[in-house]
């Protein structure tokens, strides 16, 4: 009973945060609502007995990724979202699409209910067991993931690197060019009067 009450409370917080993400016009407000959603989802993970995933959710998602988002929002000085004609068309299709998709999935799940239920406090996600699983059965995906992160780091650096400025001409050419520029500067005032 307590489990159900906590599930409904945190689920309502998560849905409210998600709807607020849609409603807000400023990216910073949307980012903070997303932090609320992620915190509520971490609580849901705790209810499911997945402490490790809950901790990782708070550390990686609510910590690292959202800090990156807010950093980019502040770096680019993102203002209030503009409205265009295309966005009205998108909203026209987006809201019925959202309702249709949500109702379809909910209807499917209610028509085909799961056999069992999930109990609280099963102590089913200890970090030790996950670590053993991760480093025995999933060792190859784990190593591939490290390669993926390495490529992502290099890609981010390459993409976000400012375009290299043009090389200044060698000093010898500048010395050769200078008399001409002086001539041009001297020649220009003659035209003005």
């Amino acid at each position: 009973m307590l489990h159900l009450a906590l599930f409904i409370a945190f689920g309502a917080i998560a849905v409210a945060g998600a709807v607020n993400l849609l409603a807000q016009r400023h990216p910073v407000n949307s980012a903070l609502s997303l932090v609320v959603v992620m915190g509520a989802l971490a609580a849901e993970y705790l209810l499911l007995g997945a402490e490790f995933v809950a901790a990782v959710q708070v550390i990686i998602y609510a910590g690292a990724i959202m800090v990156l988002f807010i950093f980019v929002i502040m770096l680019l000085n993102a203002g209030v979202e503009e409205r265009t004609r295309g966005s009205k068309v998108a909203m026209l299709f987006g809201i019925p699409g959202m309702l249709l998709l949500g109702l379809l999935i909910i209807w499917t799940l209610i028509e085909n209910p799961g056999q069992g239920s999930v109990s609280v406090g099963a102590q089913y996600g200890p970090a030790k067991a996950i670590g053993q699983l991760l480093f025995h059965e999933f060792l190859l995906p784990f190593e591939v993931t490290s390669v993926l992160i390495l490529i992502a780091i290099m890609g981010a650096i390459v993409l976000a690197h400012p375009p290299s400025p043009r090389k200044p001409p060698p000093p010898e050419e500048e010395l050769l060019m200078e008399p001409e520029s002086e001539l041009i500067e001297m020649a220009e005032p003659r035209k003005e009067p």
Binding site: S30, L41, L48, A50, L68, L109, G114, G125, L133, A160
Partner: protein, 100 residues
Amino acid sequence: MVPLSYYLVLSAILFACGVAGFLIKRNIITIFMSIELMLNAVNLTFVAFAAHWHHLSGQVFVFFVMVVAAAESAVGLAIIIAVYRTRETLNIDRVNLLKL
């Protein structure tokens, strides 16, 4: 005791909100946040099934999804910075050409 379908319904609602944000929003950063919301909804499904079937593989998959999401957000935000540097806008409607 909470039925498994409740978790799946909550996940479906969050996923639908993410899809709607992806379609409605015009700010490229907010669209990116909608993608993260969809990934979170899928993670909830993974953890719910892991608890239901008493198998830890779902939680390991969530771990991988989080790692991929972190890499994706780093690269995606770098792309956003590169787009902003050339276009001076974050409105997705004004980024309609592939060439710079």
